[in-house]
Symmetry: C2
Subunit: 253 residues, 2 copies
């Protein structure tokens, strides 16, 4: 399209600065290095602080920069590939699952979750909280909603609470024959509690992966997982994922 | 975790406002409705304009609000599920492909693309530009990089340029036996040209889906697709995708 369309829309100033900054990151800075403060950067590039901040936000979205409380803005390492969907269907908690059970509560879920589970509005479900590490860092948190009907053999006595309870719920779930699963990925913003665990500010961009597990012709479990969008690249399919660094500035067409 | 952790981190003001605004959207506004201007909203909620803007940005990230040039801020319809990966492997341009070929050029790709394709740094590749519609709207643009070695039977005479050339390249590609494909999804920011096509501002958050197609033991094609993050939910797997609206505010734990 670039060859036929008129380039009539002027490039915003922050976008131009973003490109210049991106090149400076490549040539002058190394991974982990702390950037000069905003005032110095704005002076160096001859722009207003607001323009600088917009450009820094772009580069953060693209995973080039990280802003950390108490540290400042640093040059980010390449994103880590985190395997999300394989070809194989498997229950949460099955062998090889990358998630660790943290807690389990019985609760009335949010209306949207109840609708997806096709449970009644006042029907409590087991909500397992899990977390996922990669490279020594917490990269995702998950709420896994399991209707009581999916774990009919579960007794209160098995394990009353906490991670042990979560594992008991998952063991029960594995008695069902998993028929299929589907997933959706979308952009979200981190809830306050997820943000705290993921070491982000509330509202930081996150990738929300919703997975529905079906058994006996109905939804047997619903997982809502929140991945750090700054450090994670979600991979699907045969191998460990595509190793390409997405740089919007580079393009030869 | 919410039951055991100390809530010692204070909720930022914009995050609280985001929750209040979210509730107001549910109760007072309907899809497509234009919000009052920023000054009026800030006055109504008794906050500074900067705080209001941060809260609006949150809601935009979550797909609740849309900001459109010349229109203002409107209440967004639910995101559209766009199928990205099925269980079946298929070449780009195979039957049922949702993408439309737009253009094709032969060019030296960016260094990262050349590395992923394992072509030499100065080796030109065919770059097919495609676009994807959903519900009458352009939801994604794609650059599909195909090394000359993947389409050895292609002649310059087949179709010299444009969409016809793109289709000729894809037809040639189909002569190879597709062995596998893997995908990665990550957060990106829209390049100026993609932004223009997608009717977004440069730097708007986008979901970047990179797909590597393998044949004869090597990378035969590399697709980099840019989806609107505000209106799209990418779906994977068996069915048309999970119909859950992600609302970070609602949670009963």
């Amino acid at each position: 399209m670039g060859t036929t369309q008129l380039d009539s829309v002027q490039e915003p100033k922050y976008w131009h600065l973003r490109t210049v900054l991106s090149e400076a990151l490549d040539s002058e800075f190394s991974v982990g290095e702390i950037l000069p403060n905003e005032r110095d950067l704005a002076a160096r590039f001859g722009v207003a602080r607001a323009t600088l901040r917009q450009a820094l936000e772009q580069l953060e979205l693209e995973g080039r920069l990280q802003r950390r409380r108490g540290v400042g803005t640093t040059v980010a390492p390449p994103r880590v590939g985190v395997a999300v969907g394989g070809e194989q269907h498997a229950w949460p908690g099955a062998a090889g699952d990358a998630w660790q059970a943290v807690d389990c509560v019985q609760e009335i879920p949010a209306a949207a979750v109840a609708a997806a589970l096709e449970t009644g509005a006042d029907e409590p479900v087991h909500t397992v909280r899990r977390s996922r590490m990669s490279g020594g860092q917490l990269v995702a948190t998950e709420l896994l909603h399991i209707p009581a009907a999916s774990v009919p053999g579960l007794t209160a006595i098995d394990a009353p609470s906490g991670a042990a309870r979560a594992r008991a719920v998952l063991r029960e779930l594995h008695h069902l024959d998993l028929e299929g699963q589907d997933r959706a990925v979308e952009l979200g913003s981190a809830r306050a509690d997820d943000a705290r665990e993921l070491d982000r500010l509330p509202g930081s961009p996150v990738l929300v992966v919703t997975t529905r597990f079906t058994a006996q012709g109905r939804t047997a479990a619903l997982s809502v997982a929140t991945y750090r969008a700054d450090t994670c690249r979600l991979t699907f399919g045969d191998s460990a994922g595509v190793e390409i660094h997405h740089d919007p500035a580079q393009r030869a067409s």
